[in-house]
Subunit: 413 residues, 3 copies
């Protein structure tokens, strides 16, 4: 018995190995249907080969790059702050030259840099009491009881001392809460009032400054690493130009803003955020190898934003005088340049190719479905074709079922 | 001959164009099998249409956003450092107000900001020799030979001078290596000892500070660009609330920490890293267009980390006195807020739709495979169905082979 | 009539529900074709199951991690700047100790840190006029008319005053334009000339410094969050070693450079950009759960770059003396470490599995196509098989068409 069973399994396996099942095909010779069929098939094959495989590079595995960016800005600009009242402006008054350690704050960032283009300088601040800026909320008062001691002024400069005092700076008559703060309080008006601002100072003329961008992209999946500065290239003294020198990594700030269709003067005055987009479309297949960066530029912030339009932040320089701490505070307006690295690398890989081919083969089934509908329900000889395509088989155990269905079939005709 | 061949190829092509092959189908009328078949097909079609196409948006091409973030923190806080010994604390002693240029270090980062909430201040450090902190490794000594001159103290503050001296700061009797360093050495204990710390100073009360987040996302594939501050919106004086004002870009630091289910006081004391997650789920199809940010908050660092729990770093403010360099060093504890931008944008694209449809059609083959097994091996009339489905063809060149296989087939029955 | 129609639709629906269509199959018993068929099928099934499903984890949905990184560098180094001319170097002369607040600039960055290893220090700069560096472009002159007042020197240090003066620093006889700038001008030569540089100072010995890296990765799709420092691990006093301690988050800078096969001394002298790559290959399936970081290191910049090789930037420390602003400027050469977080997490998901299975089933069609070609065009009995596979059907409305095609078929044989 056991031997018999074994032999049975063995012969079943052998038979399975030596058999081949192929679908029985009804071969219809008809101009209309034949052409329809070929047309649909042709469309699908075209779509798969031309669009999916060739244009969309369906034979490639893809990866987005990992990127690292360093930047270096060069350029100098002058300001000339002279008070209208004849008083000299401390530390930063008179002719003052600004170079990159002055206007790049902080000196280095990861994939970004900030160029200060406009500023409000408040030198010689020290800890003490002074009247709050009358433009802040909840600081106007008529007597001391309205200035609860110890409460900070919301969005303001310090903590109330509990006294109600006269506002300074020409706002005579107006009474505000006194605060403990860094005094004197910054006058938050740009351009800085009370100064002879020749050339719109302290607006720095940064339009002709240049930035050198070093970008390295990594494609770990393909073990490829690329730089925007190629070995042996003569990029030492170039300046980027979208037409004549599109690969040069040294770019004028004015060019960036112009190519983003923004006005440099107003951007510099109010500040803003610009994107330097480096796009790497890389093909790592040996025969069609190509991998070069493409630069483009765009403004990221909204110049008409309802909340805090433009871009600015405050930073301070601290110093000591006679054992007391002083600081100069800068409200720095400027352009924040963010380097965004886009793109993707592709290389031949069998998996996406087979997935696309498999999916394309499956789509060819659509041609058959469509033509079957035409053959069986549309063309004149549909009844004939139906009898040819279908071989009707009835459940041998339910002979009653047969009849009613046969009946339907006949009445259907 | 050549003409004959040409005519042959030509007629073959014509014939290929005018033919249509369709599978011969065995049409079985059976309740059981019919229902089984339709059920399996229905399940697969449902899965493809409902789950893949509709829920998973299989008709869309997707892209993750490229993002740029700028932030601005507002708020002020007081400290009041008074020594227990009556000595005044240099520069930062007494009532001291901290505003954003003081507690935001560095003043601007790319997609992150740091708010100092606690600190150890060591003012008036200058280059010189002093005893090392006795808590460092390998610094206890009994005589000079144990302090090899010129060797740096590992994880310590300076380089050994070769002398073994008495430790300072109340650790009388203990002898440690003298080092060349910035002196005096920082006392690395928090809160700062030897001070009357009213209100737990120098812990800053930053819980009510607010941050304005400006986020711009780019979807280059779809040429879309979105901002979290919409044009014309009345977000000027809002404060973020997860229920009443979930789109407001001005968020209280306390709200961030509370929504991440952390305790502000202990987080501020030890420092930590918080994520502000902005999630953009964008649908760029014209009819169902939607694209709005969603804010959520999470703590990233491990409050029970075995190595350096919390978050802190040191920075210095340098100044000159009588031609000599001095510095004030801050061990800054605080909350590092990292803005992570998640999400994806989707838009109708024919390729993923056809890939999913093609793959779905192929899956329909599973229904046929399953029902064929039922028809040919399970139901009562299986032998009958088998003869109907299969048309047996034998290799015309191996008539011997036929028999043995036929034999198996018969015994099989 | 309406009732009749209704009954018709109803019975059609019932019939569609109770029917099952399965392809009529021609079952060929032939060793050659059978084995060929099984071999091709076996190859495709192997590819799908072994390669796509198992190796490429085709049953998993994948996601790249979102990451946050903080770092902390420890270590101290000495410099000893002594002028050859006997003059003392202001502020930074003589023995000077450098600790992390001195050489980490800025004190904290998002996913990166900079360690200063070499520097050019120019102390006591103040605003004034001085001769430009003769190495700059367009500054050599013979008389004042060549130095147009108010024009900035391109890539230089300041703005021309209109005077042509003698160059300083030993370049006697050479005449250059005078500029308004921070004076004196930095001597851009490294190592700093005119100094007794014992031990190659001011090159800092940073090779033995260590960095602690805290990395947190988020997989929002799977709701998973991982840290490189695991809870309860004994990593407090470890030092990273690729063989003995590959999970330790405390890494010596020298180890990073050595594992990237770079020379520390030359990298430190000129500066450079190093990548610390943390690779997370995570499997979130319950049974095969694994998720650990793997560290690797690579140099990102090009040591032989034609433009600005190495890495450096300038930063300044400002101070006030007698009401006048002074600064010390550092040209900081050093190593910029960028922490790149790679990897992906995967978890079982039915969609990619079914897409791959569907695509695999479709590929099985290739076996049939291939074997059909063999059966119908290659093997001896092809004519016999053809008559068995195909059932010829002619357009009943075009009897003339039939003949010509039949004629082709016959001549074809």
């Amino acid at each position: 018995m056991a031997g018999n069973k074994e032999r049975g399994i063995c012969s079943a396996l052998t038979s399975a190995l030596f058999e081949y099942d192929t679908n029985k095909v009804v071969h219809i010779r008809s101009k209309t249907i034949g052409i329809t069929n070929r047309l649909v098939q042709f469309t699908i094959i075209c779509y798969v080969i031309v669009y999916v495989i060739i244009i969309k590079k369906g034979y490639q595995d893809t990866e987005k790059p990992y990127s690292s960016v360093t930047t270096k800005v060069k350029g100098t600009a002058l300001t000339n702050l002279t008070s209208t009242s004849g008083q000299s402006f401390p530390l930063y008054g008179g002719v003052h030259l600004w170079d990159s350690p002055d206007y790049i704050v902080p000196p280095e960032e990861n994939g970004a840099f900030f160029v200060m283009t406009n500023m409000i300088i408040t030198p010689n601040q020290t800890q003490g009491t002074c009247p709050e800026d009358p433009n802040e909320r909840d600081v106007n008062c008529t007597n001391d009881s309205e200035c609860l001691a110890g409460t900070p002024v919301e969005y303001g400069h310090g903590v109330r001392t509990g006294k109600c005092v006269l506002a300074d700076r020409g706002k005579a008559g107006l009474k505000v809460c006194q605060i403990y703060s860094w005094c004197p309080i910054e006058i938050d008006v740009v351009p800085m009032p009370d100064f002879n601002l020749t050339n719109g100072e302290p607006l720095l003329d940064t339009e002709n400054f240049t930035v050198l961008i070093k970008n390295n992209v990594q494609f770990p999946k393909f073990n490829e690493s690329k730089r925007n500065i190629q070995k042996g290239s003569k990029l030492k003294s170039c300046v980027y130009d979208p037409v004549t020198d599109p690969l040069c990594p040294i770019i004028k700030l004015g060019t960036i803003v112009k190519l983003a269709r923004e006005d440099y003067k107003s951007l510099a005055f109010q500040g803003g955020v610009m994107a330097i987009i480096i796009n790497w479309e890389c093909n790592f297949d040996p025969l069609t190898y190509s991998c070069q960066p493409e630069y483009s530029f765009r403004r990221l912030d909204d110049s008409e934003s309802p909340v805090a339009p433009g871009y600015n932040f405050r930073y301070a320089r601290f110093y000591e005088k006679d054992g007391k701490l002083y600081r100069t505070i800068f409200k720095a307006y400027g352009i924040r340049f963010v380097v965004l690295v886009y793109g993707q690398g592709g290389k031949f890989n069998i998996v996406p190719l087979l997935v696309n081919v498999g999916s394309g083969l499956a789509l060819l089934g659509i041609a058959t479905v469509f033509c079957d509908i035409v053959v069986l329900y549309v063309v004149k000889g549909k009844t004939y074709y139906r009898t040819q395509k279908y071989q009707y088989v009835h459940d041998p155990d339910h002979p009653t079922e047969e009849k009613s269905l046969l009946g339907r079939e006949i009445s259907d005709r």
